[in-house]
């Protein structure tokens, strides 16, 4: 018996993540400057970390209720009301192991074998595999940089079939930095309200927008009842390692997700939940000054990157959210893969090929500005030297 032959076929057939492949190359190069990190470079604010230490000292080291501690769910609801003007009851919230678990729960709770899920492309690496693992069929909705990587109502309408169970709405977007405005969401909602499609809205970057405030699709009239909101603490509060996120959805959708969560996870890390509680408590109290400070810093880097790339001659649409720029490198004549691999070898600068986020990312690269200004300056010089050498 060969154990490898015993692996489920649909799992064996999952391609390794493009990120992982690139990671292996970069890891071999110790002194490379990396602008390929998808997590904040700020430390977790100390009051938040300390609250977890206190939680441990007070003996909060046991399981919590499946949905998560009530005070945290209450704060999450208050937060969504104050920040995004959507009302939820604590019974409509589940505290998860990051938005990552939220993606999995939502997909598994919704998908019957063969159901289609519309996934904008390029987008975050785990949506399509998540759909496949849940037995569904991912249907790519390719967005164009000409339209600032926004999903349009027309494109959406064309992809909806009787088999469409859900769609993923990933804005602010990783890897493109695109956002959707209230008007754009309303236009999408018009299409969706005529269908049976459930929206899985991944709002993990909701705090990180530059100029325009994030709008949740759940706040558009009629949409709350058919939307699963995913969010978390990773990006807004620089808490990636805490593995803490949450789902907000109407009761009818929360109940099945909670059932899966109850069997496979039981509950999110207890001390992390106390840290999350402090993040929201202090955030609401100080009007999110700490978050705003990080946003102001990202914003400066964003402008430097975009300005720098354009001066080098790499077209780059204005990213308005998350912490990524998504320049078009097509004019260099290189594929995304070649561009990034050679940039790494020749200039020791790591950025991620657009293709790591789907075939539609060909011709693009993702540059993360969750990096120090010095590294950004260094990287821009290196990219310029590289492009000129071609």
């Amino acid at each position: 018996m060969k154990p490898a032959d015993r692996v489920a076929r649909h799992v064996a057939a999952l391609p390794p993540s493009g990120i992982r492949v690139f990671f292996d190359i970069v890891s071999d190069m110790k002194d490379a400057v990396s602008l390929s990190v998808g997590e904040p470079d700020f430390p977790t604010p100390w009051n938040i970390s300390e609250s977890a230490i206190y939680a441990i000292e007070r003996g909060h080291t046991h399981y919590t209720s499946n949905a998560g501690i009530l005070p945290l769910r209450e704060k999450i609801c208050e937060y969504y009301k104050v920040r995004y003007n959507v009302s939820y009851q604590p019974e409509e919230a589940i505290v998860t192991v990051g938005a990552s678990e939220g993606i999995d729960l939502a997909l598994r709770a919704l998908i019957d074998p063969g159901d289609e899920v519309i996934v904008p492309a390029p987008s975050y690496v785990s949506y399509a595999p998540g759909v496949v693992l849940a037995g569904g069929v991912p249907v790519s909705a390719v967005v164009s940089t000409e339209n600032a990587c926004k999903l349009t109502p027309d494109a959406l309408k064309k992809l909806i079939t009787p088999r469409t169970k859900a769609m993923i709405l990933p804005y602010p977007n990783n890897p493109t930095g695109a956002i959707l405005t209230e008007e754009e969401l309303k236009a999408l909602a018009e299409v969706l309200l005529e269908s049976n499609v459930i929206v899985i809205s991944d709002e993990i970057y909701s705090e990180l927008t530059y100029g325009k405030r994030h709008v949740s699709i759940a706040s558009i009239p009629g949409m709350r009842e058919r939307t699963i909101v995913l969010n978390g603490f990773s990006k807004a509060f620089s808490m990636t390692g805490w593995r803490l996120g949450y789902i907000l959805a109407p009761q009818a959708l929360i109940t099945p997700m909670l059932r899966i969560h109850q069997y496979v996870i039981m509950c999110a890390s207890t001390m992390s939940q106390y840290a999350g509680l402090e993040a929201l408590r202090s955030g609401l109290e100080e009007n999110f000054a700490t978050v705003e400070k990080m946003v102001a810093e990202y914003n400066k880097r964003r402008r430097v990157i975009v300005d720098g790339l354009r001066k080098i001659g790499l077209p780059c649409f204005e990213p308005e959210g998350a912490f990524y720029a998504f320049p078009n490198i097509g004019a260099t004549g290189l594929s995304s893969e070649e561009f990034c691999t050679r940039l790494l070898r020749e200039q020791k600068i790591a950025i991620v090929p657009g293709t790591a986020f789907g075939q539609s990312g060909e011709g693009y690269a993702r540059i993360s500005y969750a990096a120090s200004m010095d590294n950004i300056r260094f990287a821009l010089k290196g990219i310029e030297a590289f492009v000129q050498s071609l």
């Binding site: 990396s34 390929s36 990190v37 975050y124 690496v125 990783n174 400066k300 880097r301 430097v304 991620v352």
Partner: protein, 164 residues
């Protein structure tokens, strides 16, 4: 002071060595606006000078000692605390003079080559000033954080080099 000047100050407090051109890009404004704003801040004495924060432990033969000196004084009839405070501030060795609330009046920070140096200064110069009632000298043994910078913690990036 306008909004741009405030944002510029925020940035310069963190990083003073940035060109006006780059600052303009960062803040989404023109270079001319930035230079005008900074010129205004300098002219009005809001920005006093640009310096470096130095970890002296790292210097090869660092031979400077720092002390925090609490000084109690008798306020003067028409000048209050100002007269004596300004007098103390004139000494080159004195880096900082604050008037503070609490059990003493002035907090004086000074630097010298040795503890003896500082002791000498306190006994012969500070405590002999008319109106100085008492002093208490605290030598700085180790710095953990200064001007917002944590010492000794190299800001090593512990994140994985590539993540989704």
């Amino acid at each position: 002071m306008d909004e741009l000047q405030k944002t510029i100050l925020d940035h310069l407090e963190q990083e003073a060595r940035v060109s006006n051109a780059e600052l303009a890009v960062m803040l989404g404004t023109s270079e001319q606006n930035v230079s005008q704003a900074i010129a205004g801040l300098e002219r009005d004495g809001v920005i006093l000078k640009y310096t470096a924060v130095i970890d002296e432990e790292k210097l090869d033969n660092h031979d400077r000692v720092q002390a925090l000196i609490e000084v109690r004084i008798t306020p003067q009839r028409d000048r209050g605390f100002d007269g004596i405070a300004e007098r103390i501030a004139r000494y080159e060795e004195v880096q900082t003079v604050y008037l503070s609330s609490g059990s003493y009046d002035l907090m004086v920070v000074m630097q010298g080559r040795s503890m003896r140096d500082i002791a000498q200064f306190v006994s012969s110069r500070l405590s002999t000033i008319d109106g100085v009632l008492s002093t208490a000298t605290h030598f700085v043994l180790k710095k953990y954080k200064d001007q917002g910078v944590c010492y000794g913690q190299t800001s090593e990036d512990t994140r994985l080099k590539v993540t989704p």
